[in-house]
Structure formats: C-alpha cells, structure tokens
Symmetry: C2
Subunit: 457 residues, 2 copies
C-alpha cells in the first residue's frame, strides 16, 4: 500500500494525494443516504496523462479505482471501495472550446455543468440538460450517470447532447469516440456505451457536447391543485393535447412546505400539489402554449394558475424547485430520495401507489419530480438510527420499485444504479439481457478494477 | 448443407425457403454497386420464435447468417456470405401498437418505414427519420443501420427515436431492451449498442419508437445558385443565424439535370447548385424562418429563391430530392454513392475537394445530400466493366475519405460501413478504439456467426 501511494505521489505530486483518515472522510460518501466507505487514498490528477498513469499504477497493484467528480451522485456510484483509490477529477476543469459554427462545446470532465450552460449562453447558445445538482456537479459525472433534469420532456437527457468523449480504459489506454458530425455511423456507437456506465467501464476525461440556439423567450406558470391526481391528470392532458413544454415539474404538499420554509418565495401552502410549467421558444408559441396549459390545468381541477411576471420570477420558481431535495433534507437526519419512473400514461397510478405505501408503512414521504417525464422522486424523510423505521423504508421502497416495473417503468430514471439500486436491477431485465450487460463489463474491465460492485456484483 | 436446409424448412415451412440458384439471385446483392455474393438459401421466418429457431439451427451447423430487410442498404451490409443463410424479415410486418398517450409506436422489424410514418400521421403524430429509401426500406433495417434522412439537422437520426428493441442473439436467446419511459438509466444502454450494429451483434425483430406531435405547418423553399460554394456558404450562414430548419438539401448541376429529366417538376436547369430548404412548426415560426432563409440565401449569392405554393408542391420537391439517387443511377451502368460527412463548418472545403478530385480523375460526379448535416453524397457515375475508370474511382474515393477524416469528419454519415467502407474504418479510429469495437463483437458473437466480414474482418 505504501508503495502504491508513493508511486501515485510521483505521478500527481505529493500535495495531490490525500491519505490521512480525517482527510478521507469527505470523500467517503456522495449524495446518497446511509452509504459510506473509506478509501485508501484520494488522488487529484491534473490531466488525462496523469489519469492514465494513475490507472496503470493502480492496475499493476490490482487496486480498484473509483472515479469521483463533485460527489453529488444519488445512487452511491462514487462511494469508495475499501482499500481502493479514489480518482477525483476536479482539476480537469477547463472549457476547451466553444464552436459557434458547429454548435458544440468541448470541456474537460471536471467542469461544473452550470459553467457549461453559462459559457454556452454567452455565445447565444443553450445546453439544455439541467440536473438539480448542476451548480456543483461536474459534466463528467453527468455523462457517466446520463443525468436528466427538469427539461427532459422537450429536450431529452445528457446522452442526447454528447457528440464525443475521451475515456481512459482500465488498461491505461486513452480512447476518443465521436466527432463534430451531426451524422456518423462508422462502427458501433462506443460513446453510448460509456454514457451512463457509472465509472465501471472507463474514466471519462473529456467531452464534446452539442448545443442548441437559445430559445427566444420563455414563460413560467404555477398551478395549484387540491389533489395529486388532478396534477397528474393535467400533465397527461397537456401531452395528449400535443403540447410539449420544456418543464412540467411537480411538488406535493410536504415538499411545497419544506421548500417555502427554505426559500420563502411565496408558494401556495394550502395546495395538495403544485405544477411548475415552463414553455420556451418563439414568443408566439410560448404565448399560445402558456394559454393552452392554463386552460387545461383549470379543466383538470387547478384551483389557481399564476403566470410568472417575468423571466426572473420564472427563474426564482425553477431555483426553488431545484432546492426541493436540499429543503427536504433539512427535515430529518436521513433523506432517501428515489427516482422510479413510469410511462407518462401511468403517472396517476404511480402517484396513488406512493401515497398508499407511505400511509401503510407510516412514513413521511415528500414527492416531487419531473412529471412530464413520468420521473417522480418520492423522498422518504427518516432516521437511519431508527432500525424499525428503516425496515419499513426498505419494504416501502421495494414495493414502489416493483410497482414501477409492473407499470412498464424503470427502477431509476436519472440517478443511476450504483450501490443503492443494484439489488433491484435483475428484476428489470431478463436473465439473458442481464448476463449480456455483465459480459460487456468483463470485456472492457476483465480484472474488475473500475468501480467494482457498482451496477452489479 | 441438405440437412441444414431440411431443418430450416421444418421451422419456417418448405414454401418459405428459397434454395434454387435462380431464386437466390435477387437476394445476392443490395443497393450497393458492384458487391454480389450468392447465399446458400434464403429463409422467411414468420415471427421472432422462428427467427430464434433459425439462428439456433444455423449456429449448430456453424453456418453464418446475414439478415436482410428490403435490401436497400448502400454499404453492402446485407450482401450474403457465400454458403451462408440469408434471413429475410419481410414477413414480420405488423404494426403492433400506437400509443398516443405516451407518444410511441411499436412495430415488427419488417414494417416499411413509410408505413410507420403514415400510421403516426393518422394519429396526428410524427415519425421524423426519413431516409431516401423510406418507401421500401424496413424499420428494422433502418435501426440496424441507424439511418439518417433529410430531416437530421433539426430532428436527428433513427437512433434518437428508438426507445426499445428486441434482438435475437447468436445464441438464439431473445432479449428486450428499453421501455416507454422518457428517462431510464438502469444498466448500460444496450439498445444503443444494437442500433447501427449492421446485423453483426444480433437480429433486431421488434422496435419501440418515440413519436412527436405533428408540426402544425411547413414551408418549402427552393434557392438557385451559380456556384456550389455559394450554396454551402448559405447553409453555414443559416445555422450561424441560429435558424435550424428541418431540411437543407443540396443538389449540384449534374444531379438537378438528372432529377429533372426523371421527374420533370421544373427544377432550374441553369443553376450550378440548388438548395431545398424546409421549415416546419408553428405557423408564425415557419413564416419568420422562411423569410430569414430567403434573405440569407440572397445575401450569399442565390440567383433566385422560390417559395412552394403549398404543402403539395413542397412535397413534390422533397420527393424529387428523394429520387436523386434513382435519377442518377439511370445515367450509367454503375452508380457509386458515397456519404463522407464533415462538421458543417467544413462544408465549403469538402465541396471544393469533391469537385477538384472529380476533375483530376476525369470522373462524372453528381453530388447531392444533406448539407445542413455536413452529409454529402458524391455519386460517381461509372461502369464497373471499365477497369481503368474503376481504378480512378477507387483512388478518388480514397482521397475523399482521407480528406473527410482530416477535416474531423467520418467515412459514413448514414449508410454504414458494411463491406464497402470496411477498409477505411481503421483510419478513423485509434488502434485501441478499433480493437475495443472488435472485442465487443467477439463478446456478443464469439463464433462470428452474424454477418461475418461486415464492418471489420
């Protein structure tokens, strides 16, 4: 072990390796509740060559590697492996190029996602994926997890914006896949294999992202409902009316109260559920869609529909929504955030199930999420020290996952499998599909060096 | 061999196996020039179970399998392997479900792509990918090749619309990957590995596709130019002005004359190049974008810009454009269609190179293509019996591919690698990236049964 650390120090410099127990603590967990594990050491390489060298050295010792960005993951994907090396990529933080002619941006993996969006905006361009964590999470982490966000309904997820990526393989080789071409069918789509692979196949060190022209205008609406079903029905009706707004976010009563307490922006505390609806694009389209959504919400039982006075107010509402997790997390010692996702047509059933399960197991659940994507985040407010309650939490989660799969859904819409959802993954796949995924892992990482024990054993 | 055929006949029925040399001829080639190879037999399974059984029997004999839809491929991907079985999937031709609530359509692989689009349109929905062959090509073939089309600029390619697929593995196992969820990050994105894998990893038997609301209106414009560079500059200027029309198609003088001769719809014969531009969406947006494109085309040297009187006239122009390949193919015995693709910013350079190479090697090249995607189709009109000219064709193609790669492009934007571009593939990848692709092939198809010799050896 000492030998390995000395070798790592020679690669990245002594001041770029953490090895004291107290220094390792903040790198022993990510944004996921309960999961913790200390690493042997944390290294901070400066560039891709150092990453490759670190991988080579760790491999020669047979030591596992866990890659980490800002550690905001919500499925334990970057929780260390005991006696493993954590490779933290925050120093690879340069935006390399913005290409306005080809509508692309190129960046190192450690760039904060919001910086990508801001840099694009400066050039009149738009990077749509906006995970809740975008102010702190890294673009490399977003790509490794295939992060979603609030605009998935209209704009898709991170995968839809990755045109190319550089990855360090477990062998220490550096590969690049992709280019600035809008169309490219030469060979297998290797980049798609790495996107969402949660650090188990390679270490993503650089990305090339597609940008869009910035929408000319946007409008935000806030609708209040006296039942969760009415909000869900509104979402279905909007999509059936062939309106595809950029955002259809949902917050239940528990979440609204927590967020209001946290952010104080005047959310309607008496509502059982609220919908935050945003439309963007050409001003004429925005005006029409805002009108349509208002009418549809009212027809489906909205007690009130407010239009944000301007973009600033709209932005404040979206920021409040992004704070939902943090706001809920303040209420109890342990916050377990799930993201079972169902086809949009099954939303009402799923919402009812979450309520029913919460009541039956006597749990406090705040639910919010990307209703337009069928992507709900039931958030269980609990205390990991309360063994009896944790047992009920476990059972409730299990029921929710089972039901989501039964409805044709998935155990994870945007948070990844990691450690947290690993036991449920085989339920979603047939035996041969599951075996096929594992065989890919063995092909790319025969010695199981990269993020072992994540996604599957 | 007799034994194998008897077993196959027991699975699919005697009348669903072709084995006489004269019956095999039409299945010995696809849409690609020059490439021909007779199969041992052609089988027509009725459903996925028969496909799986056929694979199992062929595998037990160690006999290679080539999958085929309508045989419209342009890289030799479905050209038989000598003494191999051709599995033709045209009998799996049922549309299974259109789900207007989730905006999806589910179909067997042998459904004709245009039937998918028409069925969606009946429900007020829209399936955007529109490869030139869409009136005859199958959706399974489109997915296996990740087909592009005329609307790539705004709407992307086939990959962007595949939410799920069923594949028969070389082992005969049937796997399903995907669901109706807009977001799903459970496990590796296996479907993305099969999309564009050209029949080398599995046989795609069923697909679940994403649909969009049908755009409310569309408008088609036809701009004439006195030089190819002016047309290319117009395309760049449109995108730099942040306008993303659904179609920016280009035809050079040679192609315009052939198409006019073939379709007689009044194309401007005196132009050196024409651009077919289409915008769709909300009427206000369409009107504005049409105006912007007209102004930009004029500023960049358009000698004339015509607006189609109505959607019917627009459709006639698009149909004429889709006929470009057929129209050119009538001129000479052999038509070699390429689809080297470059980043949009490099279009002018690529266009010049094609002209220069054509002149230097004294070849007749008609160029058309999806200029908005940087995806050009230089089409060499030649005669495979003229050995000297074929030698020059070979050299010219080589130079074009090399230049496309040098410009950061790809050897194939939408036609696939198949047999035709196999020799050029290693040029586009580093050694380790190329090796990694081959290792995936070995993992999924260890005995090399599926479409052997396609993409790579």
């Amino acid at each position: 072990m000492k030998d390995l650390i000395a070798q790592l120090e020679r690669i990245v410099g002594q001041d770029q390796v953490l090895k004291e127990p107290e220094d390792l603590i903040p790198y022993g967990f990510d944004g996921t509740a309960v999961l913790k594990e200390p690493a042997m050491c944390v290294v901070f390489p400066a560039d891709v060559n150092e990453v490759a060298a670190v991988v080579g050295v760790a491999a020669s010792h047979g030591t596992p590697i866990v890659t980490r960005g800002s550690g905001t993951g919500l499925s334990g994907g970057s929780v260390p492996v005991r006696n493993g090396v954590v490779v933290c990529l925050l120093r690879l933080n340069r935006i390399l190029e913005i290409d306005a002619r080809n509508l692309t941006i190129s960046a190192q993996c450690g760039v904060i996602t919001k910086d990508i969006a801001d840099e694009a905006a400066k050039a009149g361009l738009f990077y749509p994926p906006d995970p809740g964590s975008m102010k702190i999470s890294t673009i490399g982490g977003n790509v490794a997890e295939n992060s979603g966000g609030l605009r998935g309904l209209k704009y898709g997820v991170t995968r839809n914006y990755v045109m190319g990526l550089e990855a360090v393989l477990p062998s220490g080789e550096v590969c690049w896949f992709g280019n600035k071409c809008v169309k490219d069918v030469a060979g297998y789509s290797m980049k798609d294999l790495f996107i969402g692979s949660e650090g188990t196949l390679g270490i993503i060190t650089r990305v090339l992202l597609r940008l869009l022209p910035k929408p000319a205008s946007r409008r935000t609406l806030l609708a209040s409902f006296s039942s969760m079903e009415a909000a869900a029905a509104t979402v279905s009706a909007i999509i059936e009316a062939r309106v595809i707004p950029c955002t259809l976010e949902f917050l239940d009563r528990v979440t609204v109260r927590c967020v209001e307490d946290y952010a104080g922006i005047g959310l309607p505390l008496e509502a059982e559920a609220i919908l935050l609806m945003e439309t963007d694009g050409h001003p004429a389209v925005v005006a029409e869609e805002a009108k349509q959504m208002t009418v549809i919400a009212r027809e489906n039982g909205a007690t009130d529909v407010k239009v944000a006075a301007d973009e600033q107010e709209g932005e404040r509402l979206a920021t409040a929504r992004r704070a939902a997790f943090s706001a809920l997390a303040r209420m109890k010692p342990t916050t377990i955030l799930e993201d079972a996702t169902v086809p949009r047509s099954e939303l009402t059933k799923m919402v009812r199930k979450i309520q029913e399960v919460g009541e039956r197991y006597n749990l406090t659940i705040g639910t919010f999420g990307h209703m337009g994507d069928g992507n709900l985040h039931p958030t269980i407010l609990t205390d990991e020290k309360d063994a009896d309650e944790m047992d009920r939490v476990e059972k409730a989660m299990h029921e929710m996952f089972e039901y989501a799969i039964e409805l044709g859904g998935t155990i994870t819409g945007e948070h990844g499998v990691g450690l947290a959802k690993k036991p449920f993954l085989p339920r979603q796949f047939t035996e041969s599909s599951y075996a096929l995924m594992k065989s890919l892992k063995r092909t790319l990482d025969p010695d199981g060096l990269l993020n072992p024990g994540k996604i599957f054993d």
